[in-house]
C-alpha cells in the first residue's frame, strides 16, 4: 500500500499524478505493462487527474491549506485508489451526465472518472471519501500469467 498526504492545490497536481502513474506500472503480474496495455495507465491517470482538479477547485475552493490523503493499492489484477479531503462535499448523483453532442466546455470530470474506471464511489463527510477502482482487462491478466515473469524488483526484495 502506498500512502501519500499533501496539500490539495493545483501546485501539487503534477506530483500526485506522477505517483499514480508510477503505481500503475506496478499493476499486473509482470509489473511492466507494454503497449497497448498503456491504455490502462492512461485511463487511470485521466480519472485521477479529474478527481484532483475537483478537490483543488471545488472542494478546497476557499480553503487553500487543505490536505489530501491518498492510498493506492496496486495489485496483480487491479488498482484501487482512495482519495480523502476535508473540504466542501457534493452529491455526485445530482451531477447530470454531459450532453456530448453539444460540445460542453466543462462538467466532464465525473464523466471521465466513471467512464475510465470500473468503480467510482463517493462518501460525503469529514473527510469526503472518493474511491476509484480499475481492473486489468482479462487478456492482459492471462498474458501476464502465461509469461510467468516476475514483478520488477522482486528479485532483490
Amino acid at each position: 500500500m502506498i500512502h501519500l498526504r499533501l496539500p490539495g492545490t493545483l501546485r501539487y497536481r503534477d506530483l500526485a499524478v506522477r505517483v499514480v502513474a508510477a503505481a500503475c506500472k506496478l499493476v499486473g503480474k509482470d509489473g511492466d505493462l507494454q503497449k497497448p496495455e498503456r491504455a490502462f495507465d492512461d485511463e487511470v491517470v485521466s480519472a485521477f487527474s479529474e478527481a484532483w482538479n475537483n478537490i483543488a477547485i471545488h472542494s478546497y475552493h476557499d480553503q487553500p491549506l487543505g490536505e489530501v490523503q491518498i492510498e493506492i493499492e496496486p495489485d496483480h489484477d487491479q488498482i484501487w485508489i482512495r482519495i480523502q479531503d476535508f473540504g466542501a462535499s457534493f452529491e455526485p448523483a445530482r451531477v447530470p451526465a454531459p450532453d456530448l453532442e453539444a460540445l460542453p466546455e466543462s462538467g466532464l470530470g465525473l464523466y471521465i472518472m466513471r467512464s475510465f474506471m470500473d468503480d467510482v464511489t463517493y462518501q460525503p463527510g469529514r473527510p469526503n471519501v472518493l474511491t476509484l477502482t480499475k481492473r486489468l482487462p482479462d487478456r492482459v491478466r492471462s498474458a501476464g500469467r502465461a509469461a510467468g515473469v516476475s514483478r520488477r524488483g522482486d528479485r532483490k526484495k
Binding site: L10, R11, R13, D14, V17, R38, A39, D42, E43, V45, S46, S49, E50, N53, A56, I57, L100, L103, P104, E105, S106, L108, G109, I112, S115, F116
Partner: protein, 99 residues
C-alpha cells in the same frame, strides 16, 4: 506546457507540448483570444507532443473551436496519441476535430 504559433497564409498551426491541464490551460488563453480576434480562417492544433490533457485542456480547445466556427472558420486537431487520444475518443471529439 509550452506552445508555438506559426502562421502560413490563411492557416495557423498551434503546437502544444507537455501537459495541458487546469494548471497550464490559462497560460494559453491570451493566444486563443488573439486567434479569435484576428478571425483566423483555419487553425490546426498540433498535439503530437502533448503528453497529458484533462477536461480543462479539452474545454479550452472546444471553446476555441466554437468561437472560430461561429466566425465561419475551421479548427482541426492533428497528431493525437496516447492519453490525449483516449480522452478525445471518450468525449467523441476525435471525429469533430479531424473532419
Amino acid at each position: 506546457m509550452t506552445f508555438s504559433r506559426k502562421d502560413n497564409g490563411e492557416e495557423t498551426v498551434l503546437a502544444i507540448e507537455g501537459a495541458l491541464d487546469a494548471v497550464t490551460a490559462p497560460d494559453l488563453r491570451p493566444t486563443l483570444d488573439a486567434l479569435v480576434a484576428e478571425k483566423r480562417r483555419k487553425i490546426v492544433v498540433d498535439l503530437s507532443a502533448l503528453r497529458l490533457i484533462d477536461s480543462s485542456g479539452v474545454g479550452a480547445i472546444v471553446a476555441l473551436f466554437k468561437r472560430i466556427k461561429a466566425q465561419g472558420g475551421l479548427v482541426q486537431v492533428a497528431g493525437l496519441r496516447d492519453q490525449p487520444l483516449a480522452i478525445f475518443r471518450l468525449l467523441r471529439l476525435d471525429r469533430v476535430f479531424t473532419s
